[in-house]
Every structure is written in structure tokens, then in C-alpha cells.
């Protein structure tokens, strides 16, 4: 049984990459560290368990990264996806520090590999973890154990007791038993609130019941809510989240990356009213996949259907759940519970609007529609080669943007504008400082590692003085 009478130097709340980066850094600096991870050991690691890479600045090719990726290009990429909703100081600091992130993780036992098949577009910018995020999480827990860090699984932090901006202890549920952890500093790395359906309902109403949560079901936002209620500044739009087009047959939580569908650019997408609602071929998929979750979330019953034919099948990665197949568009509509006549008309109108061109799956080709609303700007091939295929789509939420405001030393900011004396944050719980909207592949892990290390360093420094 853990010693709950002891006063720990650092309490880390959460158990993903951001939490472990913080805990390991603090322990290496000589602090006594305790981790409170809500999940049981088999499901530990938060959303990090489902990740596969991190985005890292590098001036020259490394073992696993090709060419170079400089600060200005990185910053431009971030500026583009966030539409300016970022903090340039924090963002540039993170970008610069990201060059050391792979080395830190390697020292923690994480093994890197060149980019996976189908992800060549990321081979220059993103370092992939061999075996994916769970292998990273395993390696980091092993390192944490070696450093003598006390790790509590099945341990939910219910409340952080804050007095005058100073955290003194945490009220926890340890394997269902109420306990307290006393500590000299707290690092909150407990993620967003995307798995808290009640909270999502505040902004989205009944639609929230149809959102699939791609990652950990333990992202309940308890610590986030608790800190925001105690005079810590908030950052990010609470109604916003990162979401992708998931298979509608995926589990309601923890389905992970394999549930996402890449078929949209090679299909036409209709909602339950059998209406197209957005340009499926607007841009290459790596630049568009992240808007489709939100688009589908705005449709009736948060459902959509990607319709294609047998030509398209090999243009995208295979899906876990097979597409529905039918010999005619009408039969396909019936199988999907859609109006057959209407779907036949939508497909016929689309086919009539396609213009001759040379189809090129991987890049922006010249196959576009003419006179169709909304248009399909690329990859607009006729859908006329049976069997016809359909993938049912639902929004899959990755994380929420609401967070606690932090400064460049990872200290959370109080409502009076001053940094907290001993509360730090890293990971998704503060990612909204840098990512106000949109997403860059692998940037969440970068923020987690960079701010985790800063938080661990600062917390250890604090307790030494």
C-alpha cells in the first residue's frame, strides 16, 4: 500500500506521455514523485496509447527523419492550421524545444522507426514510435519505475486543494478508496474532457450522444474543471474539439486510430437526407481529414455515408469494418436506410457533372465537377462501376480545446494574471494555449513532451529551493 502520510515533492496527475515526461524529468532532478493514473495498468497512458509519432524540428536528416524541418516552416504550418489562434511566444518556444524531444524519449527507452507505409507525407516532419504509442508508454513507465517513481493506477484525482494559488494536497479515489496525497507541487497532465458526455452535452445537446470518443474513456476533465473553478485562467473554445471521420460502427470510445476512414476524397458523402454537404475533394486528405469530424457532427443524427464504386477500393487504406456492397445504387441506399430514388438522383447528378480528367489518387488531380453544388474539386470520377460501396461515417473526437492557461515555464496562470506558485500543466490540458483550433499531426505529443519536461524541471527546482 502506498504511503499516504508522506509529503511528496511532486504529484503528477495523469498517466500519458505528458505526465510521464514530467514525472521522469522531476525524478531525474532529484525530486520524489508520485503519479496518479486514473486508468488500470492495462489501459494506462491516456491518449498517448493511441498515438504513433511526434513532430520534431531538425536541421539535418536524423536516423528516422528525412531532409530538414526548420522553425519558420514549422511555425507557418502551425499558423495555417490554427488560423492564427495560437500564442506565438509559446508556440515558437515549443517548436525550438521539439528538436530535443526525440532524444529525450529515446533516453526513456522509446524506439523510433522511419514513417509507416501510407504516411510518406510525414517522413520529413514526424518521428514514428516503433510499435506505436503503447510501446512508448510501456518504455516510459519502465523508466519511471527504475527511477523509483511511485505509480498509482486506478487512481482518480477528484480535487486539488488550492489555497491562494498554492496547491497543498489532492483528494483522490485510490482503487475506490478515498485518500489524500500531500505534496509540495502539482503537475496537471490529465488531458481534456472529451470523454465526459455530460459536459459535451452542455454545448452540443443530444448530438453529443452520437459522438465517438477515439481515445481513452478516462479523459473526464475532472481536474480541468476543478482547476478552472478555483481561479485558474481558461484558454481555448470550450465548444471546440478535434474530430475526424470515423466508421459509424466503431465503439463509442477507445476505438483508436484504426477506426478513421480515408475514403472521403474518393467518394461522395451524403447525410441522412441524402444531400451532399461539402466538397469531398477540396484538398489532399492529410490536410482535410481533421475537418470532416466536425462537418459530420453538424449533420442530422451526426451521420453521413461515403458512397463509391469498385474503382475506389484500392485508393485508400483498408477499413476495419468492410464497406456495405450492392449491385445498384438503389439497393445500396436501401441497405443504408436511405431513400433509394433520392440517392440515385444524387449520384446521377454527380456523374453528369464530372468532367474528363486524369485521375491521380495521391495528389491534386484535374478531375473536378462542373456546375455542381457543392462541387467536388478533385478526384471526381464517375461512380458507375458496380459493386457500389458505402462506408457509414460518424464524428470521432480526438480531444477538446478547452484548457488551463500556462506561461512558458508551464506554470498555470491565475485569474489575477500571476503564475501559480506550485501548479504546473502539460499535455492536452494546456494544448489549447498553442492550438486554438485545427491540428498538426504529431504536435500533441510534441507539446506533451516539451511542456512535460519543463513542468518536471520547474517543479523539481521549486521544491529544491
Amino acid at each position: 500500500m502506498p504511503d499516504f502520510t508522506r509529503i511528496w515533492d511532486v504529484l503528477v496527475v495523469g498517466g500519458g506521455n505528458a505526465a510521464l515526461s514530467a514525472a521522469i524529468t522531476a525524478a531525474q532532478a532529484g525530486a520524489s514523485v508520485i503519479i496518479a493514473e486514473h486508468a488500470p495498468v492495462t489501459m494506462r497512458g491516456g491518449n498517448s496509447r493511441h498515438t504513433r509519432n511526434l513532430r520534431a524540428l531538425h536541421a539535418a536528416p536524423t536516423e528516422v527523419l528525412t531532409e530538414s524541418y526548420g522553425e519558420e516552416e514549422y511555425w507557418d504550418d502551425l499558423l495555417r492550421v490554427t488560423g492564427g489562434r495560437t500564442d506565438e511566444g509559446l508556440a515558437r518556444m515549443t517548436i525550438r524545444a521539439s528538436t530535443h524531444a526525440p532524444g529525450f524519449l529515446r533516453d526513456c527507452g522509446v524506439v523510433f522507426q522511419p514513417s509507416l507505409s501510407g504516411t510518406l507525407s510525414l517522413s520529413r516532419t514526424n518521428a514514428f514510435f516503433l510499435g506505436g504509442g503503447k510501446a512508448l508508454v510501456n518504455a516510459m513507465y519502465r523508466t519511471a519505475e527504475k527511477l523509483g517513481i511511485e505509480i498509482l493506477y486506478d487512481t482518480e484525482v477528484r480535487e486539488i486543494v488550492v489555497e491562494d494559488g498554492f496547491a497543498r494536497e489532492a483528494v483522490i479515489s485510490w482503487r475506490g478508496f478515498p485518500e489524500r496525497i500531500r505534496c509540495k507541487s502539482v503537475i496537471a497532465s490529465a488531458g481534456g474532457f472529451q470523454a465526459n458526455r455530460e459536459w459535451l452535452r452542455q454545448y452540443w445537446g443530444d448530438a453529443a450522444d452520437n459522438f465517438q470518443i477515439r481515445g481513452t474513456p478516462y479523459a473526464q476533465g475532472t481536474v480541468l474543471k476543478n482547476l478552472l473553478a478555483q481561479g485558474i485562467q481558461e484558454v481555448g473554445d470550450p465548444t471546440q474539439f478535434h474530430a475526424v471521420a470515423n466508421d459509424a460502427r466503431a465503439p463509442m470510445c477507445d476505438g483508436g486510430l484504426a477506426m478513421r476512414l480515408d475514403c472521403v476524397p474518393y467518394s461522395i458523402v451524403v447525410n441522412e437526407n441524402v444531400e451532399r454537404f461539402y466538397d469531398e475533394g477540396e484538398d489532399v486528405w492529410p490536410k482535410r481529414y481533421a475537418i470532416w469530424g466536425r462537418l459530420i457532427a453538424q449533420q442530422p443524427n451526426q451521420r453521413a455515408f461515403a458512397i463509391s464504386d469498385s474503382q475506389a477500393l484500392h485508393d485508400y487504406l483498408p477499413s476495419v469494418f468492410p464497406p456495405l456492397k450492392a449491385a445498384s445504387i438503389g439497393e445500396l441506399a436501401t441497405a443504408l436506410g436511405l431513400d433509394p430514388a433520392k440517392l440515385e438522383r444524387v449520384v446521377a447528378d454527380y456523374n453528369a457533372a464530372t468532367r474528363p480528367g486524369t485521375f491521380q489518387g495521391g495528389k491534386l488531380d484535374d478531375c473536378a465537377t462542373a456546375g455542381l453544388t457543392p462541387p467536388k474539386s478533385h478526384w471526381a470520377r464517375r461512380i458507375d462501376q458496380p459493386p457500389y460501396h458505402a462506408h457509414p461515417l460518424a464524428p470521432g473526437i480526438t480531444f477538446t480545446f478547452l484548457g488551463v492557461k500556462v506561461n512558458d515555464r508551464a506554470r498555470v496562470m491565475m485569474s489575477d494574471g500571476k503564475p501559480s506558485a506550485n501548479i504546473f500543466a502539460s499535455g492536452e490540458i494546456m494544448a489549447g494555449n498553442i492550438l486554438g483550433q485545427g491540428y498538426l499531426a504529431g504536435f500533441g505529443m510534441t507539446i506533451g513532451t516539451v511542456f512535460g519536461r519543463i513542468a518536471g524541471e520547474e517543479a523539481a527546482k521549486l521544491v529544491r529551493n
Binding site: R142, D254, L257, L317
Partner: protein, 367 residues
């Protein structure tokens, strides 16, 4: 793959298909071994494809410990255990003669029975052949062993059982090759497959080893298997050299300790003892999650049989100048002959099918 003949899926095959369809949409494990790049070449998984992928799997368990969908996740992806079950099914399907494939279902019992009965029968035979005065007194000098078991009988029993093992496993290999619809390989794929077999590259986990015990990466399994395999081959070389000495040069055993056959056998025996002991230790210690429990019996029994063969061989060397030699020789020969007889219906066939899978993989990579 269209070239694969269509065979209906068994339950194990359907389960492997379900899991491969999840893996093929995820692909995080691509860096571990040959299985996942081979999987990525496919969209549909016919029964023959799955048998091939299962035999390509070396059981390093890296994919299990890094799997976001491993139990207790609802998807319950467990490739090492699922593929091990499917492999065992394939061993039974391709066994020759076909009726004996059923022996795989009771591999632990069968191997154990043979390991017990064969040396007992050998002892009884030795006792029946000689009066106790010969069997229990020290036999030394040229031809000492053949005063316990006559040379012709040794050749008939050992050569016959070994020949049968080769024939049965060869027939199994031919059936497997036909069932997976393969064409004759060129020299480059053969060289690549041979390299993969000899180095056990696929137990390297992308350069960092296997998850032998838990999520730690170690080279234990790879080196222990190498010790066992190398030891086995040295012992085989020892026997072959001994036979050449006898038949070509007329030099009869026992040979000097520093002679070629004894040295080969001695170091081979040491390698086998280290390898089998270590692999048994790994089996006891390993996380049971990615293990197929139904197959453990046969695996333990075969490792134990190999251990006994090595141990009795070394003991025979140690006490060959004493009155215990006769009994030890009978035991050792009994174990070896029993091993050859049971070999085509045991875990030992994994080497054949793994080799063919590596060969097919080397061909596919060039296609």
C-alpha cells in the same frame, strides 16, 4: 492473393482474419517483423494467406505488448496466440500420412509418451540382447558401443527413424507448398530466406529484440534458440562425422575427447542444454497473455525431450569408461530414435513451415 487456392476458413482462421483486418487498418507494428509488411500487401485474407502469415510469425510478441487493441480492449487483438493456434492447425492439415495429423491435438501427451517409452524399450532391448555381465561391465577400446548395440542394429534403428522423419516432413512441406500455391523460387529469395532462418532476423524486433517475458525488449529468445539450433546442428555433424570415420576410414568409436566427432558432439550438447534450459525458463516466466495455452504441453515436452537427449549424450561421454555406459547408451539411443519418430508430428515441424513462409515472403517482396 489470387494465386492462393480458396480453402474455407476454420474458426482459428476466421479469428485470424478478423484480427488481420484490424491490423491492416492500423499498421503500427510494421517495424517489428516480416508479418506486417506481408499483411500490408493484401486486402483480402484467404485461408492460405493467413496460414502463410501465421507461419511467418516467429512469436516475438512485440506486436502484442505494443497493441492498443490487445485484451482487455474489446477488439481483443492477440496476434502471437492466434497465429500460434493457426500454425498448429496447419501442421495437422499438412501432416503425412494424413491420418497422423490428429497427433498434433495431443502433442504434449504424444511427445511425453514417446520420450518415456522409447528409452524404456531401448533398455529392454539391450537387456534382451546381452547377458547382464556385458551390459553392466565397463566396455572400453575400439567398438565398445557396438558390443552393447550392434552396429547394424544402430544403423537400422537410427537411420530408419531419421529417414522416416525426413520423408514425412518432406511430404508435409510439399503439401504446404502446393496448398499455398507457390512457384519455384529463384536463387535470390532462397538466399534471403536462408539468411533469415540462420540469423532469426525476425526475432530481432526491428533491432531491439523480443518481448520475451513482458514489454521489455531482450535478445534472450533469439540467442537461446540459436544455441539450441546450433547445438542441434553440431550434434548432427558429430553423428555424420562419426559415420564417415566408421564407413570411409574404418575408424571406429569411441573416439578421443579431442577428436572431431566428440568435440562437435560435446559443444553441440552444451549448446542444446543451454538453449533448451533457457527456453524452458522463458516459457515459465513469460507473460501468459500472448501465449496459446493449448499448445504449451507439446512445446514443453519437445524442449524437455531435446534437453534429455543432450543431457544423456553428455553423460554418456562422461561415463563411457564405466559400467554405466551400456545403460546410458541405450537410454540415449532410445531418446534419439523416439525423437526422430515423433518429430514430424511435433513442434519440430515449425522449422519446415517457417522456412517455407520466409521463402515465400522473399519471393513476394520481389514480385
Amino acid at each position: 492473393m489470387s494465386e492462393t487456392e480458396s480453402v474455407s476458413h476454420s474458426d482459428a482462421s476466421l479469428e485470424a482474419k478478423r484480427q488481420m483486418e484490424i491490423c491492416n487498418a492500423c499498421r503500427y507494428c510494421e517495424g517489428y517483423c516480416a508479418v506486417f509488411p506481408a499483411m500490408a500487401l493484401r486486402r483480402d485474407f484467404a485461408a492460405g494467406d493467413l496460414t502463410h502469415l501465421a507461419n511467418l510469425c516467429h512469436g516475438c510478441k512485440g506486436c502484442y505488448h505494443s497493441c492498443q487493441y490487445a485484451p482487455p480492449h474489446a477488439f481483443g487483438v492477440n496476434i502471437p496466440a492466434t497465429f500460434a493456434t493457426l500454425r498448429a492447425e496447419g501442421y495437422a492439415t499438412h501432416a503425412w500420412p494424413a491420418g497422423l495429423g490428429a497427433l498434433f491435438a495431443r502433442s504434449g501427451t504424444i511427445v511425453t509418451l514417446v520420450a518415456v517409452l522409447a528409452p524404456v524399450l531401448a533398455l529392454l532391448l539391450a537387456m534382451a540382447l546381452h547377458d547382464p555381465a556385458t551390459l553392466y561391465t565397463a566396455q572400453t577400446g575400439t567398438g565398445a558401443f557396438f558390443r552393447i548395440v550392434p552396429y547394424w542394429l544402430m544403423m537400422v534403428l537410427a537411420g530408419g527413424s531419421f529417414g522416416y522423419a525426413l520423408l514425412a516432413m518432406g511430404m508435409g512441406a510439399a503439401r504446404y507448398w502446393r496448398a499455398t500455391g507457390q512457384r519455384a523460387p529463384g536463387p535470390a529469395p532462397v538466399a534471403e530466406a536462408a539468411f533469415d532462418i540462420l540469423t532469426l532476423r525476425n526475432l530481432g524486433g526491428g533491432g531491439h529484440g523480443c518481448n520475451d517475458i513482458d514489454d521489455r525488449f531482450t535478445m534472450h529468445k533469439r540467442w537461446l534458440h540459436q544455441a539450441m539450433f546450433g547445438g542441434f546442428m553440431l550434434c548432427f555433424a558429430a553423428t555424420t562425422t562419426g559415420a564417415i570415420y566408421h564407413n570411409v576410414f574404418g575408424w571406429k568409436s569411441p573416439h578421443e575427447f579431442l577428436s572431431v566427432p566428440v568435440q562437435l558432439g560435446f559443444w553441440g550438447g552444451i549448446g542444446m542444454l543451454i538453449g533448451t534450459s533457457g527456453l524452458l525458463w522463458l516459457k515459465v516466466r513469460t507473460d501468459p497473455g500472448p501465449v496459446a495455452p493449448a499448445l504449451l504441453g507439446g512445446e514443453y515436452a519437445m524442449l524437455a525431450l531435446l534437453w534429455l537427449i543432450a543431457a544423456t549424450g553428455l553423460l554418456l561421454l562422461g561415463i563411457r569408461h564405466t559400467g554405466a555406459m551400456g545403460v546410458m547408451l541405450a537410454l540415449h539411443l532410445g531418446l534419439v530414435i523416439g525423437f526422430f519418430l515423433v518429430m514430424p508430428y511435433s513442434k519440430m515441424v515449425h522449422g519446415v513451415y517457417r522456412g517455407l513462409a520466409l521463402l515465400r515472403n522473399a519471393q513476394e517482396r520481389r514480385a
